[in-house]
Amino acid sequence: MGRVKYAVICSSNQNRSMEAHALLSKKGFDVCSYGSGNNVKLPGPTPDQPNVYEFNTPYNDIYAELASKDNAFYTGNGILSMLDRNRKIKTAPERFADAKPLFDVIITCEERVFDQVLEVLEARDSRTFRPVHIINIDIKDNHEEATVGAALIFKMCQAFDQADDLEVKIEEVLDEFQRKHARTLLHSIAFY
């Protein structure tokens, strides 16, 4: 089969999916990243005052706004450096429901996102009958876990790329991955 097309999806397309996106593109994978939520949420001064943005608001704009709001605070909690990393990868966070490309493998970062992605795919009509695997690996939404998670996702993608026939080997790959890394994965399938 040709080159595997990957999508990495988290809730806001900021931390976990972008961390993995960064690593995978660096390693030369064909990868896109998305958010599954209704809008982009970033931590605010208190837990009940998050910064909320529409999807497709450029990372650059968010960066500028937060830097002007409280530069020290957002530097301290790593949000600004994250946004800085993100704007070097792509323009803006994207919503999965609006995604046009077709993927072979979609990796989600938490069960809720997995459910949302399945729902989006199921609501679409099956027109091409092209299968897509959806795999969930739980990653906590913080910088450290995102780094660990991205490394795991990279390992998984590496294993996929090494499989001569993804459709046949996928269960084997996932099974081995779970045993090796003591992670529980969810796996489902949908058709475009």
Partner: protein, 1118 residues
């Protein structure tokens, strides 16, 4: 321009060496000829299709993609495409085969669509249809292909074919909720096929089609559906492909509801681990179950699944869904479906008449607009009979009814020139009537149209008194009886339509209707009050209305009639009652205040439970389900549950309900757990056992373990502190007089009552035994004895391997040693003692914390020297214990037969034991001689072990010992008693003893006495030993046993001379015989007679006895 463009692109493509770029160019061609300018297709299609022979797989795949797109865009072109597709099937590249299968759903749909649409089937179309079908069969035959990727696509294709080969129905789920389903327009060859969500299905097949047979196609669809079902039961399917099938079945069920029952029946078994292939890893099971859960929720949404809600809910619970989740889902569904579900047929035409959708929308908005009246009047200006038809009917109807409300009661008031009131109304009613509205209002308006319409008539005073019929549209004032009658009638009707409601998808609507009808006592009461306000029923209204009670009774009776099927109805009803009929709902939910439960709720719940009590089997768990799942729990219900517990028939059910309440109803946890605990001390055996079983289950949870444990320990502690009387708890509450009497014995039963729970827990958590030992140490002997008897099964459960045994050994509470002894004893009966235990006991024994009896159970773990070392202590134990110990040492064969103990014969032989016993020194080892004697006696009872050979070897060794053990002669006698065959062997031993000069040994007296006794017993053979004694000793012997003298003398006399010569003269002299005297032969008795007489003479003599005194006179006589 485009033509050249396409030609140029194709030219470039043919020159292009790179396959990827070639595909890119061809893709541009595709875009131009399929999407931009369809007329070019004809010119270039062959050119593009020829690329199927391109050597590169990626190009071939592109051609398949092109074919798929072309057939979708223009089905009529399919006959020209199909040959190229067929070619791909035989490609040996798996990627191309997969791409082909992926193409198949669209190709098949296109072929089906094309064939349906051809009124006269041309040979090309027929050929295309045949070829596509052949290809379809070939591909479906790959459904069990080993390549899972291929199998996956085949399965998806099969799902597609099922969709095409079945009928669309009213209940088919549609992704875009458009207007009602209408039959498809006749397919036309030259228009693009409808997009995939616009159904292509059997409905397209025109009647009497020359090629397509509806029945055959439907059967084929059913077959393929069965194929999908069979995959779910396969043990070899991969989890990915099982996922695909589950998704497919779910979609099929929702789009083709006729398959719903079968799909549900197929999916539900998958909810358990056993329902899935054994080879699935845990994570795969989790993934499939998650998917299943989501899909079951999707199915719940569908109206065709209504009658399976109970089963689906059960499966969902198995999959870990919470009841709340399920109910929330149902609620959401019933909320949304009222908006989305197609209108019932009678309502449907309304919207279809309105051509101005915008106007309808405006009208709808207007209906809910509070500023309606003012808007209304401004609308009137626009009304007249001509333009009325242009308004949406719904708006007109609303207008008519609104106007009627503002009309005066009598015609006289209409005399005032109010044209805006009369004119539109008249116009509207006419319009309504002409639109065929079947309403009562319209009919009665029509009855007197002129009266209203003609302004001239209105002004005529002669007509003034005429009543205007349409204004009576307000409900007439019914009497309370009528209201009651109507309510009952509605209720009865709604009950009666169960089957039709279920089949029509209105089951949930019906159940909520019934619930509301029943659970709105407030409304009913206020309605009745409204009707007859004179009734001073303010206080009485709180009480049950007779009607209400009747309705409740009827409902209960109805539910109980078929309780399983009507469970959902029951819960729906109870929920409504719980929420107070919807009134205080908002308050209760918003404020989350502890609003008191409606009294009616309790009454309804209890009525239902009581009715079920009569109806259900005494073990039917449905009772539990209702109690657990009822919206709220009341003290009355708890009373009922407790009543069940104590009812011997229903106690199992009652207790398991109590158990479930503890688990699932946290607010009740404490009280229910306490009740359960109390039952565990009941004097009713069954009740106690069953409640203990439940408690043990609860004990596994860390939430309940401390409480249960504390209670168990406390009740055991009761054994120490309480007077015997108080031991038996609640049972004596009734007969208070009894307590005044003298305390009775603590019975076995009392002890069991107090310890049963702890013992049961102890089997799960062995460390409790340590706690128990502490308590046990303090109890009286009266309690200890029954405890020791009852604890045996527990010890067996705990087993040798449990670390608690060692822990207990290492710190035995003072006073609990009997418990430990019992423990060791029981364990040793089941398995050989472990090294650690043996070591621990030895250590304790050596430090003198434990006495020798503790060694008995672990004897099997000691080696020979150790056994020999402890033997004296064992012998010194009380007789029962020492016998037990010796039994274990020598009678090991008994244990080996059961394969449990291998002892004795391996480590120490029975003869060694016997010898060791003889070597026990009463002084040195602090053992009394009788104890040793008893021990040897005991050994002799094992006749099968101490056989003649064993005894011979023992005796031989004893005789060879120096000094000769004290009991040797006694043992010899005993051995002779057991084995008379030893006689001659013994005589040789006696001779040896003579040689060893036994009279000079360490214990001269005892041994000598024994020797003489032996000689007497073994006579006449023993005489040769006697005659070999030195004369002095012979003299002593004969003096000690005078009865020997005469037989001996006779024997010697009767000896033949050549033998007699060997007897020394001094000996003969002792016997009083002259050396030369010939023996009188006639006197010689046969040896047999001698022996027999000796046995009779002295059968019971004990070796330790003092020498008999009776022979003295006889000696004098001789």
């Amino acid at each position: 321009m485009s033509f050249q463009q396409v030609a140029g692109l194709l030219g470039n493509a043919s020159q292009e060496a790179n396959a990827e770029t070639r595909v890119e160019l061809l893709r541009q061609v595709q875009d131009l000829i399929l999407h931009k300018n369809l007329t070019l297709l004809e010119n270039f299609i062959e050119e593009v299709l020829n690329y199927i022979h391109d050597p590169q797989a990626v190009v071939k795949k592109f051609v398949l993609e092109f074919i798929e797109a072309a057939s979708k865009t223009l089905p009529s072109i399919l006959p020209r495409l199909i040959d190229h597709v067929h070619f791909a099937f035989f490609s040996c590249q798996i990627g191309i085969l997969r791409r082909l299968i992926q193409t198949m759903p669209n190709l098949y749909r296109a072929a089906f669509y094309l064939t349906c649409s051809a009124v006269l089937v041309s040979p090309e179309v027929e050929r295309a249809w045949t070829r596509v079908n052949a290809l379809k069969s070939s591909i479906l035959s790959l459904v069990y292909d080993k390549n899972e990727g291929v199998q996956m696509l085949v399965l998806k294709f099969a799902e597609m074919v099922v969709h095409v080969l079945s009928h669309h129905t009213r209940e088919s789920e549609r992704r875009n909720q458009t207007v009602n389903y209408q039959p498809p327009p006749l397919p036309s060859i030259n228009v693009p096929m409808p997009a995939i969500d616009d159904e292509v299905c059997l409905d397209f097949v025109p009647p009497h089609h020359p090629l397509l047979r509806l029945e055959a196609l439907r059967e084929e669809g059913q077959r393929l559906f069965n194929l999908l079902v069979s995959i779910t039961q396969s043990q070899t399917v991969s989890s990915t492909n099982l996922t695909v099938v589950v998704l497919s079945l779910s979609v099929v069920a929702r789009q083709r509801p006729m398959f719903m029952p079968h799909v549900i029946a197929t999916l539900l078994p998958l909810a358990t681990r056993e329902g899935l292939p054994k080879a699935f890893a845990t994570a795969m099971v989790a993934s499939v179950h998650k998917l299943l859960r989501n899909q079951l929720f999707n199915l719940l949404k569908h109206p065709a699944s209504t009658e399976y809600h109970v089963d689906i809910a059960d499966a969902l619970y198995t999959l870990g869904a919470k009841r709340i989740e399920y109910e929330a889902y149902l609620r959401k569904q019933s909320g949304s479906s009222s908006g989305k579900r197609p209108l019932p047929p009678s309502m449907a035409p309304l919207s279809m008449y309105s051509d101005a959708a915008a106007a309808t929308h405006a009208a709808k908005r207007a209906r809910f607009d509070p500023t309606w009246p003012s808007q209304l009047s401004s609308l009137f200006g626009a009304f007249n009979a001509e333009n009325l038809q242009q308004f949406p009917l719904r708006l007109v109807i609303d207008l008519v009814f609104q106007t009627m409300q503002t009309l005066p009661d009598s015609l006289a008031e209409l005399e005032a020139p109010t044209p805006f009131a009369a004119a539109p109304f008249a116009a509207a009613t006419t319009a309504a009537a002409s639109a065929g509205l079947p309403s009562l209002g319209a009919e009665s308006v029509k009855a007197e149209p002129t009266a209203v319409l003609d302004p001239v008539l209105i002004r005529q005073p002669a007509l003034k008194p005429r009543r205007v019929a349409p204004f009576a549209l307000k409900p007439s004032d019914p009497t309370p009886e009528q209201v009651q009658g109507l309510t009952k009638a509605i209720f009865a009707r709604t009950l009666a339509i169960e089957a039709s409601a279920a089949s029509g998808g209105a089951a949930s609507l019906r159940s909520s209707l019934l619930a509301r009808l029943l659970s709105q006592p407030g409304n009913l009461a206020s309605l009745l009050q409204l009707i007859s306000p004179s009734d001073p029923t303010s206080a009485e209204a709180q009480e049950v209305l007779p009607l209400e009670q009747q309705l409740i009774d009827a409902m209960v009776e109805y539910i109980v009639e078929n309780v399983r099927a009507r469970m959902e109805l029951a819960f729906g009803w109870l929920c409504h009652e719980y929420l107070g009929g919807g009134g205080p709902l908002a308050a209760r939910l918003r404020g989350r205040l502890p609003v008191p439960l409606p009294r009616r709720y309790t009454r309804c719940l209890m009525a239902l439970l009581h009715a079920l009590r009569e109806k259900l089997d005494v073990r039917d768990r449905l009772f539990t389900r209702i109690v657990i799942e009822a919206p709220a729990f009341t003290p009355e219900v708890l009373d009922l549950v407790l009543e069940y517990c104590t009812d011997s028939e229903r106690s199992m059910l009652g207790l398991s309900t109590l158990h479930d309440l503890v688990l699932y109803r946290p607010p009740l946890r404490k009280v229910c757990l306490q009740k359960l605990l109390e039952f565990s001390r009941s004097d009713q055996l069954d009740l106690r056992r069953a409640s203990i079983q439940h408690l043990v289950k609860l004990y596994a949870s860390s939430t309940f373990a401390p409480v249960v444990e504390a209670f168990a320990l406390e009740s055991v502690a009761g054994l120490v502190k309480l007077e015997p009387r108080a031991v038996a708890m609640a049972t004596d509450q009734d007969d208070g007089a009894d307590t005044a009497q003298a305390p009775r014995e603590i019975s076995e039963e009392d002890v069991m009552t107090c310890t049963a729970l702890l013992f049961a827990l102890c089997a799960k958590s062995h460390s409790l035994l340590l706690e128990f030992a502490k308590i046990y140490a303090e109890t009286s002997a009266q309690v200890k004895r029954p405890v020791l008897r009852q604890i045996e099964p527990l010890f067996k459960q705990i087993g040798m391997a449990s670390p608690v045994v060692l822990q207990l050994l290492q710190s035995i509470p003072k006073g609990a040693d009997t418990l430990v002894h019992r423990l060791l004893h029981v364990l040793a009966d089941t398995a050989p003692p472990s090294r650690a235990i043996v070591a621990a006991v030895k250590e304790k024994y050596n430090t003198q914390e434990l006495d020798a009896k503790f060694l008995i159970p672990i004897l099997g773990g000691l080696d020979k020297t150790e056994i020999l070392a402890v033997l004296p202590s064992l012998v010194a134990l009380p007789p029962a214990l020492s016998k037990d110990a010796l039994g274990r040492l020598v009678a090991s064969r008994h244990y080996t037969e059961t394969g449990l103990l291998v002892l004795g014969s391996k480590v120490i032989s029975p003869s060694d034991v016997m010898l060791a016993l003889h070597l026990v020194d009463p002084q040195r080892d602090n053992v009394t001689l009788p104890a040793i004697v008893q021990a040897t006696n005991f050994l002799f009872t094992f006749g099968n072990i101490y056989t003649q050979e064993v005894l011979a070897s023992v005796l031989q060794q004893l005789v060879d010992m120096r000094p000769i053990p004290l009991l040797t002669m006694r043992t010899m006698l005993k051995a002779y008693d057991l084995c008379p065959g030893l006689l001659s062997f013994m005589v040789t031993l006696l001779l040896r003893l003579v040689v060893f000069k036994i009279w000079e040994d360490k214990h001269p007296r005892q041994l000598w006495d024994g020797f003489v006794l032996c000689c007497e017993r073994l006579k006449p053979l023993s005489f040769q030993a006697l005659v070999s004694l030195p004369p002095a000793q012979l003299e002593t012997a004969l003096t000690d046993k005078p009865s020997l003298r005469e037989p001996l003398t006779q024997q010697v006399q009767s000896l033949p001379p050549q033998q007699k010569i060997r007897i020394s003269t001094p000996v003969l002299a002792v016997l009083g015989l002259a050396p030369t005297q010939a023996p009188p032969a006639a006197h010689a008795p046969t040896p047999g007679v001698l022996i027999a007489s000796s046995e009779v003479a002295d059968a019971s003599s004990e070796p330790s006895d003092p020498p008999p005194t009776s022979p003295q006179p006889m000696a004098m006589a001789t």
